[in-house]
């Protein structure tokens, strides 16, 4: 039976084994190095990619903020408009239309009356002065001022009457109240 005889010196064998181990270590290190650079590459790619994504998002945010700012200005204008409309509505609701008073006085003045002045004594109290052809005419005028259901006036009072000597004409001053709901905020 043939026997294997190892003629290589044991030191050489040892050295060879050591070399092989070193080589394996080198290969292992090389793999580690490659892996390290691969990871580096992956991270570099990810960072670059996320940076691009952030940049895109920043642009998107800036565009949306610009649009929002624009809309906020519109919103502010809308708020101003709403406030202004409410304010105007309030003013209109409380506006006193004295032209209606004048029209009413015009329509209710009878031929025997000559009006010399009309003035506002209070917001709803109108003072009418003038000359009446007779006291009867004055009486008719005062009665006519408040007559009828759709009348603008009520509570007419004769304040002053001065009959001229010899009868005939009489100067007068009459006050009359106006219905607020007819002249305020309604036209």
């Amino acid at each position: 039976m043939p026997q294997n005889i190892n003629l290589v010196p044991s030191e050489v064998v040892k050295e060879r084994a050591l070399h092989q181990a070193y080589n394996k270590f080198v290969i292992f290190s090389l793999v580690i190095l490659v892996a390290a650079f691969s990871v580096l590459g992956v991270f570099a790619y990810l960072v670059s990619s996320t940076q691009k994504q952030i940049s895109t998002l920043n642009n998107e945010i800036a565009a949306k903020e610009r649009e929002l700012e624009k809309l906020k200005n519109v919103e502010k204008s809308g708020a101003i408009l709403t406030s202004r409309l409410e304010f105007i509505q309030n003013l209109m609701n409380n506006k006193v239309y004295y032209s209606k008073v004048m029209e009413e006085i015009k329509s209710r003045t009878i031929p025997g009356i000559v009006v010399s002045s009309i003035s506002v004594s209070d917001i709803f109290e109108i003072s009418v002065s003038g000359t009446a052809a007779s006291t009867t005419a004055l009486q008719n005028y005062v009665t006519g001022l408040v007559a009828g259901p759709d009348n603008l006036f009520f509570d007419a009072k004769i304040f002053e009457v001065s009959v001229k000597e010899g009868g005939g004409t009489a100067s007068f001053r009459v006050t009359v109240q106006t219905k607020a709901e007819e002249i305020v905020g309604v036209k």
Partner: protein, 328 residues
């Protein structure tokens, strides 16, 4: 000796050769570690930070999208809001544009066929009182209910002369004018009481206290926009008369400010000379000397600014000076 030395060197070379692979491997490991620690790790951290930042930004975009969606309705109304804002600005100014209002009144008077005898600026009033005015005919009753808000107003006493129907038309035109000018009080009187044949003369004189409001809305806080609710008001405002007044082209500059009036074209520039032709000698009933034009912003007292018909430019300039408004 020589043989011994060469053998030592040989041994050292062999040692170096034998450790070459080991050194190379170690070098690779060191480089790998350095790359990982000094480059890859910071990159990893940077990646994580970017990832969080992206999440935040996506969230931010989501919030912005929600806000934009909420304001989408406003976006659709943008044109309408702008248009109506212009309309309401004509109805209520943001500042005390007294000269503009005076010019508007002058135009209304012209269109109504009455002649303005006097303008009397009666001062400013902050926060109009809601209480009823006193019961004297010369007092200024204020429209009830408008004083709750912090609004400003200025008042003017104006005397006009004309036929009854024209004076009535003047009042109606003031009431129907888009720029809100309230008639706070009025007093009519016949120019001549009764003629010999007991007939009322055609001409009457009207003295009227006007209140014009203004309010600055620029500090208005955001609120719900509800234009539909006010559509009837908007339609009413649109139907009201309005004539834009532009005082920007008024001729300014005079060599001698104390020199008397010249026959300039100033009257024709504002187009008010025609109405005044028939009442060129009219003066106010205050008994004040013409030309004594002092203005008092105290609400309780007023000083008339004399204004012959057609002299509106002079009156305006004086009011501008008194109000400290710079002319363009």
């Amino acid at each position: 000796m020589e043989t011994g030395l060469s053998s030592e060197v040989k041994i050292n070379t062999t040692i170096i050769k034998s450790y070459k692979s080991l050194i190379l491997g170690l070098l690779f490991l060191v480089v790998s570690s350095a790359v990982s620690y000094f480059i890859s790790y910071p990159l990893y951290n940077k990646y994580l930070a970017n990832k969080s930042e992206i999440e935040l930004k996506v969230e931010q975009i989501s919030v912005l999208d929600k806000k934009l969606a909420q304001l989408e309705k406003v976006k659709q109304l943008a044109d309408t809001i702008e248009k109506h804002n212009l309309l309401t600005e004509q109805a209520i100014a943001s500042k005390d544009d007294i000269p503009v209002v005076m010019t508007m009144i002058q135009l209304i008077a012209e269109n109504s066929g009455v002649a303005i005898e006097s303008f009397s600026y009666s001062g400013m009033s902050r926060t109009v009182s809601t209480t009823k005015a006193s019961s004297t005919s010369t007092s200024a009753p204020t429209p009830p209910g408008v004083g709750d808000s912090d609004n400003d107003a200025f008042k003017m006493n104006i005397s006009v002369k004309g036929k009854f129907d024209d004076v009535l038309k003047f009042i109606q035109n003031l009431e129907d004018y888009r720029r809100l000018i309230d008639v706070s009080s009025f007093s009519y009187s016949a120019e001549q009481r009764v003629t010999e044949d007991s007939r009322l003369t055609d001409g009457i004189s009207l003295r009227v206290l006007l209140t014009s409001f203004f309010k600055d809305f620029s500090t208005t806080a955001a609120s719900t926009i509800d234009i539909d609710k006010h559509l009837p008001l908007i339609q009413k405002l649109e139907s009201m008369n309005y004539e834009a007044v532009d005082l920007s082209d008024v001729t300014v500059g005079k060599d001698n400010p104390f020199s008397p009036f010249e026959d300039t074209d100033a009257e024709s520039e504002t187009g008010v000379e025609e109405e005044g032709a028939g009442a060129e000698t009219d003066t106010t009933d205050t008994g004040q000397e013409p030309g004594v034009n002092t203005l008092d912003t105290n609400d309780s007292s007023s000083t008339d600014v004399e204004a012959n018909p057609g002299d509106v430019n002079e009156v305006l300039q004086e009011v501008l000076q008194q109000e400290g408004v710079q002319q363009p």
